[in-house]
């Protein structure tokens, strides 16, 4: 099953690894954005099936980007996965209050990334 998703991360290398993992290993189509602001733009214009959103980004961070997407009728139906390193005590609440479908652990394993995303989004059991 092929999908079209948006990967948002301020680290170019991480974006590239996620893109290669999903395109070359799973055959998906991947859009990328380097910031929360760019993510809002691309999501509105391209309407991806889902967004993989890094939590820690300068400027608009992951949870704030998710809030904006949820508030905008153009993007509010797009499911979001937050991508984060181990959750720290103070972040737990922020994540719980974010309008997202799930959380993916960072660093992700590129070999299983597509399957992990599908599972987190309920695209397969």
């Amino acid at each position: 099953m092929t999908h079209r998703v948006l990967v948002v991360d301020d680290e170019p290398d991480i974006r590239e690894i996620a893109r290669l993992a999903l395109e070359r290993l799973a055959g998906w189509t991947v859009l990328t954005a380097a910031s929360g602001e760019e993510a809002l733009e691309v999501a509105t214009r391209e309407r991806p099936e889902a967004v993989l959103l890094d939590v820690m980004m300068p400027g608009l961070d992951g949870p704030s980007t998710a809030q904006r997407m949820a508030a905008d009728p153009a993007t509010r139906d797009i499911p979001i996965l937050l991508v984060t390193a181990k959750v720290r005590a103070g972040e737990r609440q922020v994540l719980e209050e974010s309008p997202v479908v799930g959380v993916l652990a960072k660093p992700f394993d590129p070999a299983t990334l597509a399957a992990d995303v599908e599972r987190a989004l309920g695209w397969r059991s």
């Binding site: 680290e11 290398d13 991480i14 690894i17 996620a18 290669l20 993992a21 070359r24 290993l25 390193a85 181990k86 959750v87 720290r88 005590a89 737990r92 960072k106 660093p107 992700f108 394993d109 590129p110 070999a111």
Partner: protein, 387 residues
């Protein structure tokens, strides 16, 4: 004759008292003495320098109020829980580390301190409180922890990229025509990147634990689920080493953070598998007692020599570093287990006989209870706050 005798005794007593005061006056640590009710009867020169009060001002004040309260409602111990009170009531000795004292300026100062009873013919005549300002040490520890934290976080990003790239090559992006040598090199680079990542994660965990910032939630965690989950993590390594895992989980629950307890058990199980001979068995069991739950990990490995048993919970300490480095240990696993268990107000200890294997036990209190001191075990718990 008699008058002369008593004069001589009085002179000697006076001399003795001055000598004692001179000796205590020369001691670098603060020394304060109290009577049997806890009122200050003596304060040496260092204590007045450390606290900013004169000896006269301290004289007659309640020691707990003078040392452990700022006068404005802030206190490092409640009066009834004050170790000085316990010394006066039960003649128990206490040693505490990095505990706040308040001086005249109303600012807390971290002190390492102890309290012990002064006994006169079995009667408790008072307490002696000895304290040392550790502000500098605490500041240095903070600098060190900040440094570790920043470096580890900075290491993480490039490591993630490294692991990801090598993972992609390993997963097939290397192409069909790559030779076996190239594959072997990528495998090697990948497993070492993973190991470096584990090391960074472990260092971050310990640094958080050191700040008391290790996140732990609390839930009633089902024992069968906890034990099966931990066993599943090490099953692969156990199979590869020809070691069988035996899990004996009764029904019931334990009060704690499932993720962290799994991590604590996984570290113990990983070690047990690591040191087991091929064909050996590692047992993971749980048992309720009147204080809570005991989780045990037992192996049939070589055991740990008596004189080394106390050191196994230290950071970076390994029984045989050349051996475990070759197998990818970080030397931090047991220190992390200890931190996790302590964050749960529990204990971890070791029973081991050289040649007859080792048993690590994690004792966790049930919800709202405490586990008493377990005498002569090789317990992980630090000496602070105990008698």
């Amino acid at each position: 004759m008699r008058a002369r005798d008593s004069q001589r005794v009085a002179r000697e007593l006076d001399h003795l008292q001055r000598r004692t005061e001179m000796v205590l006056g020369g001691v670098a640590e603060g020394v304060i003495g109290t009577d049997s009710t806890g009122r200050i009867t003596f304060a040496n020169a260092a204590s007045t320098e450390l606290l900013g009060w004169s000896a006269q001002e301290l004289q007659g004040r309640d020691a707990h109020t003078a040392l452990h309260t700022d006068g404005g409602g802030d206190e490092s111990h409640l009066a009834r829980d004050c170790p000085i009170r316990d010394t006066l009531d039960h003649s128990r000795r206490h040693r505490l580390l990095r505990d706040d004292f308040w001086g005249r300026n109303g600012l807390p100062v971290p002190m390492d301190w102890s309290t012990g009873a002064v006994c006169d013919d079995r009667e408790i005549a008072g307490a002696v409180v000895v304290f040392e300002d550790v502000t500098r040490r605490v500041a240095l520890e903070r600098v060190k922890d900040d440094f570790i934290s920043v470096v580890s976080h900075e290491l993480r990003t490039p490591l993630t990229a490294l692991r990801g790239s090598l993972g992609l090559l390993q997963a097939g992006l290397l192409g069909e025509d790559a030779g076996p040598d190239a594959r072997r090199l990528v495998d090697m680079a990948h497993s070492n990147a993973l190991r470096l990542g584990r090391l960074v994660d472990d260092i971050l965990d310990l640094e958080r634990a050191g700040r008391g910032a290790m996140p732990t939630s609390r839930d009633e965690v089902a024992l069968p689920r906890l034990l099966a989950g931990a066993a599943a993590v090490v099953q692969g390594a156990a199979s590869a080493a020809g070691v069988s895992l035996q899990v004996d989980a009764p029904q019931g629950t334990v009060w704690g953070d499932e993720h962290r307890l799994t991590q604590a058990l996984t570290n113990l199980l990983g070690n047990a598998v690591h040191f087991s001979p091929p064909g050996g068995t590692v047992r993971l069991a749980a048992e309720g007692d009147r204080f809570g739950v005991r989780l045990t990990v037992t192996d049939e490995g070589p055991g740990i020599r008596e004189e080394l048993q106390g050191r196994v919970f230290e950071r970076f300490w390994q029984v045989d570093s050349s051996d475990s480095r070759a197998r990818g240990g970080t030397g931090l696993g047991l220190a992390i287990t200890k931190s996790i268990v302590e964050a749960h107000e529990g204990w971890v200890y070791l029973d081991s006989t050289p040649g007859a294997g080792s048993t690590f036990t994690i004792a966790l209190p049930r919800r709202g209870s405490q586990i008493p001191v377990d005498g002569d075990r090789r317990a992980s718990r630090p000496a602070e706050g105990e008698s």
